[in-house]
Symmetry: C2
Subunit: 264 residues, 2 copies
């Protein structure tokens, strides 16, 4: 089966309180796409964070002693480091420019997923809850509960369309030993996180030994490729042709238990 | 732009000495696809290894002392471990079932990318150079020089079709802190490994700070999702709509210099 990834057109700048489900339904329409059972909408976590009001004005942040010390080591803004600490369960590595943490959501990532880019630096006086900030004055935290955000979006869109779909939130992560960021799933609903093929047969009828496929992360990477990272204005991608059966999944499936983590 | 990933139909079992370019051209035809400039063919490294005769009969392997010791720790076949050592620059971690190495090709991976699955366990008497092996008697090593393999395939297909394309070899890798394998690029020609967006502007005209996109790995993950891991018999995927300009790339772009590796 062919897998098709299409960026949705005409998604406006998202503001706190926006109804993302309505915006996505409108954008599907403007992209001339009609949802079918099994379709998946892949959404950058940034616009979910914005809709949920996860922007933080840095002027309101007072860094702790620990944040000041880590900020010196990493050569980062101590207020941003303070937010990284509050968003993290544990600090794993500190290098200049990069603090690797275990995020409170359970995954390992750089800088707690806190984002400067595409946060409106010059907001209009009303609408933007982080209004009045300077160009470098605000940052965006990840959604509080990305699985729940995905579920709400899925349920609203399913009830509007009558179609069974999946919804996934993605972010871009670096890798320990490879160059470049790739899209990864940070929350999902209506699709599997992993597909456990242990017990399946290979081409020669022999049992596959160790294959658990990170299917949601593969789709996240595919959609991120289509989204691009800079000014492309395509924060949502429609995917058709996901090759595995849909079921309810969760981010947890994708996270190695600490004791099996090969990094720590 | 829409990204479309289509598995090629009717690719036969590949044997040592097979002309992969001819086989891919035939399969494109049988899939009713006509190549266009900018298309990319994503090929599982397995069939390249088979065509290049990278199958090793385990009966011919004598494990060293070091292989015997590591095999005890990892609970693996010492002959396979011997091959892992000969395919690796360095052993990084040993756990039951998994030996993490720096492969001689420069990337970090489990078990040196040595594969049991989809290696014909019951070959016909002629044709298969690993002929006569028992069901568990042979393994498949990665291609000697995957960038070169990709380049040769690209050049042959370009000269047969007159189209400028990219070719990528992929394998499935585990991740240090996430569950499930994802497709990664292990060799490429005619496409970029990474896309360096530093200096690009974000939506608000502000310079993006750290964005280097692992574009080849994102495409590898997308194609792997379509290939599946088990009996799907779809070792080649045609990709149309790769969103970055094509240029000559190399695996090296995707590999962190050791001193920047966050794993070691």
């Amino acid at each position: 089966m062919t897998l098709t990834l299409t960026p949705l057109k005409n998604i406006p700048l998202i503001r706190h309180g926006d109804n993302l489900a309505d915006i996505l339904l409108r954008a599907l329409n403007e992209t001339s796409l009609t949802l079918e059972d099994g379709d998946i909408l892949v959404v950058t976590s940034k616009i979910v964070s914005k809709a949920e009001g996860r922007t933080v004005e840095l002027a309101a942040v007072t860094p702790s002693e620990r944040a000041l010390e880590l900020a010196r080591q990493a050569e980062k803004d101590p207020r941003v480091v303070e937010l990284m600490l509050s968003e993290s369960a544990e600090v794993l590595r500190v290098r200049v420019g990069t603090i690797i943490v275990e995020h409170r959501l359970g995954f390992v990532c750089a800088n707690a997923g806190i984002d400067h880019s595409n946060v409106d630096p010059d907001p209009s006086p009303n609408g933007y809850i982080w209004g009045g900030g300077s160009g470098e004055g605000s940052v965006l935290l990840l959604p509080l509960d990305p699985d729940a955000s995905a579920r709400v979006l899925r349920e609203k869109i399913e009830s509007a369309t009558g179609k069974k779909i999946g919804v996934m939130l993605v972010d871009s992560h670096g890798r320990a030993w490879r160059v470049g960021t790739v899209g990864v799933c940070i929350g999902l609903s209506g699709i599997p996180g992993i597909v456990d093929e242990r017990g399946w047969k290979d081409l020669f009828g022999r049992e596959l030994r160790i294959t658990i496929v990170g299917a949601a992360d593969e789709l996240a990477a595919a959609a991120s490729l289509v989204m691009g990272q800079a000014a492309e204005k395509t924060p949502v991608v429609h995917a058709r042709g996901f090759p595995y059966p849909l079921r309810e999944g969760s981010l947890k499936e994708l996270l190695r238990p600490k004791e099996q983590d090969l990094f720590r």
